[in-house]
Amino acid sequence: MIWLAFIMAFVSGPVWAGEAQPLGDDPAVEARLKHLAVELRCLVCQNQTLADSNAPLAEDLRREVREMIVKDMTDKEIIDFLVERYGDFVLYRPPLKATTTLLWVGPFVLLTVGATVLAITLRRRARRVVDAPVTDEEHRRVEQLLAEGGKRS
């Protein structure tokens, strides 16, 4: 529990100041860092991106990523570096693999199934239903019910 409290303490602010940070010597590097960091998870936070977090580990990781960018490593190399150490957990965009197939295709399967079911239902319904809409008569009854319900009950 103390451990948890410890993690929580980092959520909102630094308790420990790390090395002084150059605030963006090179705007191009910073832009790439930002681009990468918004898709990475701050591991010690509850649920924050690396870009948003002030936790010391996040600052260290940003420094690490910044150095890799300066070394001209590709995005993929940088991400592989992090995944090797922290696992897929560090990625906010889960990689497409066997275990995440359902995650990525799920929404579109849902939509397709939903649309198909709707189309089939509507067609079948059109055949089965004898046009029994809410007639004006019924509308009047509803209005009457609404109006008189109070008196009857």
Binding site: A9, V11, S12, G13, V15, Q21, L23, G24, E39, R41, Q46, N47, Q48, T49, A51, D52, N54, G87, D88, F89, V90, L91, Y92, R93, P94, T99, T100, L102, L103, W104, G106, P107, F108, L110, L111, G114, A115, L118, A119, L122, R125, A126, R128, V129, V130, D131, A132, P133, V134, E138, H139, V142, E143, L145, L146, A147, G149, G150, R152, S153
Partner: protein
Amino acid sequence: MIPEIGHFALILALCVAIVQGSLPIYGAAVGNSALMAVAKPAARAQFLLVLIAFCSLGYAFAEKDFSVLYVAATSNSQLPLHYRLAAIWGAHEGSLLLWTFILTLWMFAVTLFSKHLPETMRSRILGVMGLVSVGFLLFMLTVSNPFERLIPAAPDGRDLNPLLQDPGMVIHPPMLYMGYVGFSVAFAFAIAALLGGNLDAAWARWSRPWTTVAWCFLTVGIAMGSGWAYYELGWGGWWFWDPVENASFMPWLAGTALIHSLAVTDKRGGFKVWTVLLAIMAFSLSLLGTFLVRSGVLTSVHAFATDPKRGLFILMFLAVVIGGSLALYAWRAPRVGLGGSFSMVSREGMLLANNVLLIAAMGSVLLGTLYPLFLDALDLGKISVGPPYFDSVFAPLMAPAIFLMGVGPLAQWKKADLPDLARRLKWALGVSVVTALVLPFVMGKWTPLLSLGLLLAIWIVTTAVVTLRERLAHVTGDNFSDRMGAVSRSYWGMLLAHVGVAVFIVGVTMVKGFETESDVRMNVGETATIGGYTFRFDGTQDVVGPNYTAARGTFHVSRDGRDTTILYPEKRRYPVQNQVMTEAAIDPGLLRDLYVSLGEPLEDGAWSVRLYHKPFVDWIWGGCLIMALGGALAISDRRYRLARRKQEPAVAPSTRPARRKVA
């Protein structure tokens, strides 16, 4: 003594709830009106008892009674009174009390506005709500009692989480809960109708205003939560697709689908089975949200109270309530009639297509939120599903829904003609496409997403104009204002809510497309320029707040040499919890927000500073408020007040001749 009164009131409320949840439902089943008559007084008594409990807890907070464990855990003698009162819902036990209180408030409202309902229906509705209330009261009394004593009393409290010490936090949870819990009314209506087997147009008509009210509250609640995150978390984001946010968004999506589906059921008697399912779904998702937040199964930036024992209780409660109602649904729904026929291309068809899209979107959010849990439970590894995932699946699902939003209101009920629709919409389409293509170039930057966002927003507005024009042409009236008045309020409400969506989309599109930010190291006297505004840092000074100390920075903002404003961001330190909070300073505006937050102090009074220029960001929340206003306008429509109108002969039909034309 007062806390014991509160505790005792909760126990009594539980007894009343048990009576309310059993006798009236049984009475309705056997046709015993004496038993049914229990419902109304029981609901009112329950409201009163929970109110007493709520006030007792409020009193304990106001009086700084640190012999109450919950008060000692979530407040402090230095905490200002308004935050002490807001601390009632600052953590787990108290927010459950708020939940229950709001549930009884809705019950009370049902007893007030249900004179026109048949007695069996009303007693079933109140009975179902009583049963829900039994669950929550039991939950509080067994594993999360807010009145638990701390002996010996703490000398002082551990303070409210500084993140929650914010005006937004005072109103956000009650609003959100009004929405969450409000869906319990629609749910109770649906269950009552399933129990009674009288799912008809009257049922839909009765449910509609209740659903819309709850939806309005939820919309405002979510918007306020998002606004709070925007200025309180200090990094300028407004939506993080965090599990807790998703937990509030899913009921919203289901509720939005429900409102539209209720329209079909009300007008055309169709798709009752689906509408009932949506009503069950909206409330079930609210309960699921409660579970996700309270049980600790998901990590989230907001999760503030987690305990597996409580999780188990809510899960069982969830299984009983949702499982029970879905079983009832499976048993009763097959007997429900079909309603009127309509073709696939018709207003009904489009509303239902919209429903499919909304529910697919809701399902995606659910899938993304729970997927890490699924994988973990199957021991297939830990993953994170975050904003990049949700952004990439959500937009493709919403874009067609928004397209349909423009077409739907123009399509005739029953059967619409596609070529005819195309003819009526060609101007709207032309204007939208051209503007969406050209406007970004005028603003100096073109991206596909920018154009798409603008296209959708302009499409909503232009189609709304076309719809309104046609509507005005069909109503009778001597002059323009008469004709405007002849269009029903619910119709205006629909249009307004849709325009709210457009405003929201403009906000999102513009802020994503044009926001600029800059992380700078600022020495005293230095300036930084962003979005055409120049920020001069005039140093920080130490400030002492009621329960914190802060470094407050001063930034003079100017544009083209003319002063715009002075901003005072703070870095606060709350000693009791030893937390540092970044209090951003914002200059809001219709067309842009200027946002400054202090990072870290550097040498010689210099600070690292984050500056943002956020164009149109306030349109995001403005859009949500307009949506909610639209909902409110729709509820004020006369046909929902028909019963009262008829009982008041003073309002003769002849005084409002034009209104009668369009219902």
